[in-house]
């Protein structure tokens, strides 16, 4: 029955002949382990094809969704980490195996006539594979892929004549975004696989025409099936096994923080097998105008030389040509190895690189934590806003960039490079903002206004210090005042002073009378002076002190009469209007100061210091 069916099918399709053609192909000189490289590369490619198709069913190519979908694949979908891990390490295996295959073919002299065309097809396959890795690297739209791709496409733009146009077409404009991703995705999953399959088919076809390059001493032949197939399969198992080992050991593929075009210190590095080219560009010889030599001409010349190998024998004796070809490849491999090591040691010895990388890792962990937190999750605006809207991440950044050149936070300023090139902490000339507006902050101030946390380093703000010298309030009374003042921070954005003043929380507060008597001598709250007439010394108005509305006005208009307008110009805080501090930035900054954010989980808190 089965026989009848297969006979029928064979009669209609001729498949049996096709199979025997494939499997009974004679291997000159018999099966050998050294012929496995081609099949191993093919297996690696099949692995990429299978895992890639799975990934394609879950990936979403747009700048707002790519990172989130890759996060979802890696951390939420069943086996997603493994599938993506296999794809990630499989890509590297493919590059390594291609290189080994190239070396094997080179040493065996399998590029000589009549196999020139197959050498060239192999070269094309190598470039298609590098195209895969270049386009694939960008797809997660994380910091690593974003910056590496930016550099790679800018190098492309260096190409004489039409480089700029090619770059614009590949990137889909001059900005990196949705069009870049859709184009890279299309190349990665459509164009390149098509090209690779066609070229691979031609490569195998041409290979079959000429057969293996057997050693001269060998005689006879043996069919491909089963011995050579077995050897190839063993090699393939080794490839899949090693890739699976890495995928499991590393718990999948890495995912950096979402791409952030405004990053100022992201330490971009290409994939390790491009590190030699990366390092080449850092050589002083290729600086400035000579950049194009390191970026295009040298790699281009190497490629041209590789392509020319089979033609050398037309001009010089075959043996010499072979020696030259092998010498060049081994020399280049050595040089590339050296450059790669140089690149790695340069980074590991560079303290600034380490600081930036640590910072990037803090962002990465924060993004992954927020994406998986049911109270956060990737916002609809896009993955980038996961961190942009996060008070802890972005608020802290704004604080460091805009506030900590004068203020301190938690006893620290920021490290800045002095004129002598050494990094020093900024000098504190204003209060410490951590806990600003909280009861603890107020109570501390009432205890010791001269502390560096308060007005100790602020030359003009002596009012509180002078009050402290004369005040007779006892600690329990100071407690009540602190309670009262800390309650100001709860004043809502829409609340009017009249509404607030009639609240029982205010009218019956135990600290109210003490506040009027002591604080009210200098500070005002309401215009009528019910809570304090002020006047003894100039002082800011305290209505809503410590609340977002008070702080916002302080940031936008520190020179206002109800803030610190009474100080001399040079002692005043500079104001920040909406061009200097956008509304969104103000919002996250407020939330940071109010502690209104999802705290990090306690475990790996070590790397968080800068």
């Amino acid at each position: 029955m089965l026989k009848q069916l297969s006979d029928w099918l064979d009669n209609r399709t001729g498949y049996k002949h096709l199979i025997s053609e494939t499997l009974d192909e004679p291997v000159k000189g018999g099966a050998r382990w050294k012929y496995v490289f081609g099949s191993a590369v093919t297996t690696a490619f099949m692995m990429q094809l299978i895992t890639g198709i799975f990934l394609m069913t879950a990936y979403s190519p747009s700048s707002s969704t790519a990172w989130g979908s890759v996060y979802f694949i890696s951390y939420e979908m069943v086996g997603g980490w493994f599938v993506r891990g296999m794809h990630h390490f499989g890509a590297q295996a493919m590059v390594i195996l291609l290189f080994l295959h190239l070396l094997q073919v080179l040493i065996a002299g399998a590029y000589h006539a009549p196999r020139e065309v197959n050498w060239w097809l192999g070269m094309v396959l190598l470039f298609i594979t590098l195209g895969f890795s270049l386009t694939g690297y960008l797809l997660p739209w994380d910091q690593k892929g974003y910056w590496a791709t930016k550099v790679a496409t800018n190098i492309m733009g260096l190409t004489p004549l039409f480089g700029a146009q090619v770059q614009k077409v590949v990137v889909g404009g001059s900005e990196y975004g949705n069009q870049t991703l859709t184009r890279f995705f299309g190349l990665h999953v459509g164009v390149l696989p098509g090209l690779l399959i066609m070229t691979l088919a031609a490569h195998i076809m041409v290979f079959r025409r000429h057969g293996v390059t057997a050693p001269k001493s060998s005689t006879g032949s043996e069919p491909f099936w089963p011995k050579q197939v077995f050897m190839d399969t063993v090699a393939s198992v080794a490839v899949v096994g090693v890739v699976a080992f890495f995928a499991i050991a590393e718990r999948g593929a890495p995912l950096d923080a979402p791409a952030e075009p405004s990053s100022s210190d992201y330490p971009a590095r290409p994939e390790w097998y491009f590190l030699s080219l990366f390092q080449l560009l850092k050589q002083p010889a290729f600086a400035g105008e000579n950049e194009i030599i390191g970026a295009i001409i040298v790699p281009g010349a190497i490629v041209a030389a590789l392509f020319a190998f089979p033609l050398l024998e037309k001009f010089i004796p075959r043996k010499l040509a072979h020696l030259l070809a092998c010498g060049l490849v081994f020399g280049l491999t050595g040089a590339a190895g050296l450059l790669t090591m140089q690149a790695m040691t340069a980074d590991s010895g560079d303290a600034d690189f380490k600081i930036s990388r640590d910072k990037a890792d803090v962002a990465r962990r924060r993004a992954l934590f927020l994406a998986g937190n049911p109270k956060a999750g990737v916002p609809p605006e896009g993955s980038r806003y996961l961190l942009l809207n996060d008070p802890l991440h972005t608020g802290q950044q704004i604080l460091e960039q805009k506030c900590l050149s004068c203020h301190y936070f938690d006893g620290k300023g920021v490290m800045e490079r002095g004129k002598d090139g050494k990094k020093v902490m900024t000098r504190q000339v204003a209060s410490d903002l951590s806990g600003f507006g909280s009861r603890g902050w107020v109570r501390g101030l009432l205890d010791n206004p001269s502390d560096t946390k308060y007005f100790g380093t602020t030359p003009q703000c002596g009012g509180m210090k002078r009050w402290k010298k004369t005040s007779k309030l006892k600690p329990d009374e100071l407690d009540k005042v602190a309670d009262f003042v800390a309650s100001f921070a709860k004043v809502g954005n829409e609340e009017t002073i009249d509404d607030w003043m009639t609240k029982e929380d205010v009218t019956k507060h135990p600290g109210l009378e003490l506040f009027k008597k002591d604080c009210g001598r200098c500070h005002t709250v309401d215009a009528g002076g019910a809570l304090g007439e002020g006047g003894e010394e100039e002082a800011p108005n305290l209505f809503g002190w410590g609340s977002p509305r008070w702080i916002q006005r302080m940031i936008r208009h520190p020179e206002a009469a109800d803030r610190y307008g009474f100080l001399e110009q040079k002692g005043q805080m500079p104001g920040f209007d909406e061009t200097e501090l956008a509304v969104r930035e103000m919002t996250v900054l407020m939330k940071l100061l109010k502690g209104d954010y999802i705290p990090n989980p306690p475990e790996p808190a070590k790397a968080g210091s800068h």
């Binding site: 000189g29 018999g30 099966a31 297996t43 692995m47 299978i50 895992t51 799975f54 069913t57 879950a58 969704t65 989130g68 979908s69 996060y71 979802f72 694949i73 939420e76 979908m77 069943v78 086996g79 997603g80 493994f82 599938v83 296999m86 006879g220 043996e222 099936w225 089963p226 011995k227 197939v229 077995f230 399969t233 063993v234 393939s236 198992v237 899949v240 699976a244 994406a371 049911p374 956060a376 999750g377 990737v378 916002p379 609809p380």
Partner: protein
């Protein structure tokens, strides 16, 4: 190849079958390593615990849709249901996720999911204003939600309703527990 000729008749068939079976076995292992995790990947929606379990359905799952005074006796009115939606990796803020028909009967209220039990289209009001009608495959229902023709497999999906006096005013709040049900089957079986 390369073997001493005398051994050939003995070892060749064994060796051949070793290579054959070895190739097939190892090939299958490669296939399994690559496809089994992938199949799990594709089956994620079935294998993963549902999002509803870690979602934040506030308390008992009931939400106020309207006040009793918004409804007139026997005149159905449709109201949106709000919910926080997690669409794969994207967390949306609270927004309308479905609609509910409310029909007042004296001091009681019937609530029906506007999702047709047939194939999930949105059920609207019939042209007479006195029945429900689905514009997709013409399912028709009475105002009590009972099938009016043989198209729908069951009655409209009624939802649990609680009427609650609000403390501030003397209004009665209509609180409904919104749920989705499997379509196209005679039983009313909740989804997820």
């Amino acid at each position: 190849m390369g073997e001493p000729p005398k051994e050939k008749p003995v070892t060749e068939p064994n060796r051949r079958s070793f290579h054959k079976f070895g190739s097939i076995l190892l090939g299958s292992i490669i296939g399994a390593v690559l496809t089994i995790p992938g199949i799990g990947f594709i089956l994620s929606p079935i294998l993963r615990k549902t999002d509803a379990e870690d979602g934040e359905s506030t308390g008992d799952g009931f939400q106020a849709l309207a006040k009793l005074s918004d409804l007139q006796e026997g005149i159905p009115k449709v109201f949106p249901v709000l919910g926080k939606v997690k669409d794969a990796w994207v967390q949306y803020p609270e927004e309308p996720v479905g609609s509910v028909w409310l029909v007042r009967k004296g001091e009681a209220v019937d609530a029906f999911s506007a999702e047709c039990p047939h194939l999930g289209c949105a059920v609207s009001l019939g042209p007479d204003g006195n029945s429900f009608f689905c514009p997709c495959h013409t399912s028709a229902f009475t105002l009590e939600g009972k099938p009016n023709n043989p198209v729908p497999p069951r009655a409209m999906d009624s939802l649990e309703v609680v009427l609650k006096q609000t403390p501030a005013s003397d209004e009665t709040e209509i609180r409904v527990k919104f749920q989705r049900f499997r379509t196209a089957i005679p039983e009313k079986s909740p989804l997820a």
